[in-house]
Amino acid sequence: MVVGDASGAGPQPLLSVRRLKVFHGKFEAVHGVDMDVGEGEIVSIIGANGAGKSSLMKAIIGQVDRVEGDIRFDGQSLAGRATADIVAGGIALIPEGRRLFPSLSVEENLALGWEVGRKGEITLDDVFELFPILRERRRQKARELSGGQQQMVAVGRAMLSNPRLLLCDEISLGLAPTIINDIYKVIPSIRERGIGIIVVDQDIGRSLAVADRFYCMLEGDFSLTGRPRETDRDTVMKHYFGL
């Protein structure tokens, strides 16, 4: 179901996904979805546990066994491309559960983004400006940081790869509300650089508040898509739970 004018990404979207099926072994987790993300657009994907949100993120970054359908980034098909190649081409994923390198320092964790990514204007100083605490802790091992600080490192690392499309999978999971605020605050400033952003979050309210458009995922399909400001909460909840 589509609510309002949901086509927001423009005629030549940054990311365009068509009839995408995602498989884990034989199991089909996503059943042929269409999605667009434009430059500088924030798109939210909501859905219950197991709906297939992470599967979709992993498919875009090239980390699933098999996909069918079409994923185009800047008009180019991503089919068969290795993750390293996709990241170098300008897509970065902040994966579920952060996934830092615990025995390496904050700086080393951040540097990785710069090394593997697209060359661009975002520097270490930009990240330290957004998250000043990381500047203080730059020499500390990642494992010695709090959960929130680790998430900041994960966000910073992804930004340093100078993506044109940033995928955020559950960036607020397990964090205290004030820290979630700190992290969500940077999303609009990332968008201002013309970066397209996909936000996946269990916190529906927060993720819809920041988004231009949203897709609601239910058991591997999009059950609802539209603009948050044009969609009432009841409709969202109905499609969220498949009622």
Binding site: A88, E108, G113, V116, R143, L145, G148
Partner: protein, 344 residues
């Protein structure tokens, strides 16, 4: 904005204990080494002499050069079981392309020394590449792939020498393997150079950091865009080339090349790396640990020859001490993950 510190880390004493626990992997091998040295010092008057120290250094050289390459592999949470056989193959290849005495009954192809050396190193690199292909392209576990390679390399050795023994190697190899300068054996200097370069690469280069990343959290490395397969391929080739050099120098050191010459080094080099405290689960440890591990092994092997023990019992004692060190390695891993929250 900081999260509350873990309550258990608040008191300095507790914090210190947590630190010690997290350093267990580095402390235990060092304590083991000191204990062994102390024991043999007391037990045998001939152990703690300058001559014997030089002996130990020479004795660990061949295994040590292999262990440098193996450290890279184990840091990636992979294993190489083929390096001793690859060393054997490289040693035989270099001899195969060297003029042998007339009584050596091998149909070899004499070439200039430099060419023979290059061919031997190339041969080991190619065998390492085959390992890499099996692991990264076909998707075989490294344990299986390198087990097969162990047999393949042994087969190459067998075909080249056909049960014979060859003796001559190029002059350069002979000098580095058996010669010395100012009383210091060249092979010890080569070992030191390999250890140094290995340490610099692992500690100060991007590639070295990727090795720790791939071993510490492979999924994270993949998701962030590290070319994990390329890193894995590189470490297997590095291991094979280190083995190739060790094999050539070993042949010069022992004075002959024959089938199965380095089989015993398989266990020695793996033990040195693991006893030194490099985690079998990847991501932790390094050349510093390997150095300690080499000394533990060298002191143990050498010291047992200086005390009056049944030589058959020695084999058992060696095995038991290695087992103890392995238990500490795994136990240190558990201490870590039990005491400090890991971010994966």
């Amino acid at each position: 904005m900081t999260m509350p510190a873990q309550p258990s880390l608040r008191k300095p004493a507790m914090r210190r204990r947590a630190f010690l626990r997290s350093q267990m992997r580095n402390i235990a091998p060092f304590v083991t080494l000191i204990a062994l040295v102390a024991f043999f010092w007391v037990a045998s008057p001939s152990f703690a002499t300058m001559d014997n120290v030089a002996n130990i250094l020479t004795q660990i050289s061949v295994a040590g050069i292999m262990a440098v390459g193996l450290t890279f592999v184990i840091l990636c949470a992979e294993i190489d079981l083929s390096f001793a056989a690859i060393a054997n193959a490289a040693g035989i290849v270099v001899a195969y392309f060297t003029t042998q005495a007339s009584y050596v009954n091998v149909h070899n192809i004499p070439l200039p020394g430099g060419v023979a050396i290059v061919l031997a190193i190339l041969a080991s690199a190619v065998l390492g590449l085959v390992n890499a292909f099996g692991l990264t392209v076909i998707g075989l576990p490294s344990f299986i792939m390198t087990l097969a390679m162990m047999q393949i390399a042994a087969g190459i050795c067998a075909l080249l020498v056909r049960g014979q023994i060859v003796y001559a190697v190029p002059d350069l190899v002979k000098e580095l393997g058996a010669g010395s300068i100012g009383g210091v054996p060249w092979i010890v200097i080569v070992l030191a150079a390999f250890l140094l370069v290995g340490h610099i690469v692992l500690t100060y280069t991007r590639f070295g950091r990727y090795v720790y990343m791939v071993g510490g959290n492979r999924e994270a490395a993949e998701y962030s865009g590290v070319n994990v397969n390329r890193v894995l391929a590189a470490v297997l080739v590095i291991s094979a080339v280190c083995a190739g050099v060790a094999g050539m120098l070993g042949v010069a050191h022992f004075g002959s090349a024959q089938q199965n010459e380095f089989d015993g080094y398989l266990l020695d080099a793996i033990a040195a790396v693991v006893v030194g405290g490099t985690s079998l689960f990847g991501g932790r440890g390094g050349i510093g640990n390997t150095i300690i591990g080499l000394f533990v092994l060298g002191v143990l092997n050498n010291g047992l020859d200086h005390v009056q023990i049944d030589s058959f019992l020695k084999i058992l004692i060696r095995g038991l001490i290695l087992l103890a060190a392995l238990i500490i390695n795994v136990y240190a891993q558990n201490l870590r993950s039990g005491s400090v929250q890991e971010a994966d």
